[in-house]
Symmetry: C2
Subunit: 194 residues, 2 copies
């Protein structure tokens, strides 16, 4: 689904690396990931899922990024940098996505703000806490995880650059805004479409 | 904290691999991860965090597993198996831990079931859904991620083997129970202490 940040992560990397692919649009809002056919591809019933050259399927956006980035500059060479890239990708799935992406889904994707206002409000301080951890990291680092742009930056860019669509303002996060600008200067970059 | 599954993941791997270490007990229930001193080690204020040989700190349980498993049989050699190991580790942090570990924390660690009953109840079907995805995978696979035991199994073992402490019964998950038994047969294995 093109308006899913988890799918957009994959789009960013395949665009940066110019990986030939076919993009098949799948909209979970209308049950497309709950069918028996889709569950054959991903029993966990989430997008994105990629079909590889050998026709096997690989789900989980951040695992797909790992696979596609091998041999490119988006996956660093040394073990500690690799672990730090994964550190930020696990942070993204545990501390960032469940607040910032979920509020965007409530407010701008599924339009369920009226019935999920308490959840949306509870997510705001938790999402701002995650943004604070990112802003703090950028005081002394240009990128997340490695000395140069990596799949950790792609994973975190996906929902951060549309945080406003979930009610999060980046006004007090100048370093995050500057980092988003560095991401958007990479040749081949595309923003997400709503 | 020895009763944290995220910390127990690290203990399991260092015990299996006999990695020399010093274990420093830190209890988030009493604010120990919120101090300025702890935030120097992990600005995200979670346990576990390891200090490496060069004195730098690495947080995020699953990133620590990645780092420590390099060069061992717990990290597979081929790219697709590696991606599948990470696939299950991201599943663990996104779909499994927030339901199964959180309910255990509510019910058995922080003892806040009275005031968090609605959250606990909402987590039950989501946690059972995650357990169902695992049970389904074990129909045709002995392990998660690779052909042999890997850090994906360690990550998933941590909170699954104490799921009952969060109100989840494994009675209807015979394949998960058999897999837990395979994990517990590995030399050096330890169960978590409450």
């Amino acid at each position: 689904m093109s308006s899913s940040g988890n799918c957009h992560k994959v789009r960013l990397l395949i665009d940066y690396l110019k990986i030939p692919h076919e993009w098949i649009e799948t909209d979970p809002r209308y049950g497309a990931t709950k069918t028996a056919e889709f569950r054959q591809m991903n029993p966990n019933a989430h997008v994105p899922v990629v079909q590889l050259e050998d026709r096997t399927y690989l789900p989980e956006s951040n695992a797909i990024l790992y696979y596609l980035a091998q041999g490119s500059s988006f996956w660093p060479a040394d073990k500690l940098s690799q672990a730090r890239v994964l550190q930020w990708m696990f942070f993204e799935q545990y501390d960032h996505e469940p607040r910032i992406a979920v509020n965007r889904s409530i407010q701008s994707i599924t339009n369920t703000l009226a019935e999920r206002r308490a959840e949306h409000e509870a997510n705001l301080p938790k999402g701002y806490r995650a943004l604070g951890v990112m802003e703090d990291h950028l005081r002394t680092n240009e990128w997340f995880g490695a000395e140069q742009v990596s799949i950790a930056d792609i994973a975190l860019y996906a929902y951060t650059h549309v945080a406003d669509e979930g009610g999060f303002s980046l006004a007090d996060f100048p370093r995050i805004r500057a980092w988003l600008g560095r991401m958007e200067a990479i040749p081949g970059h595309t923003r997400m479409r709503l």
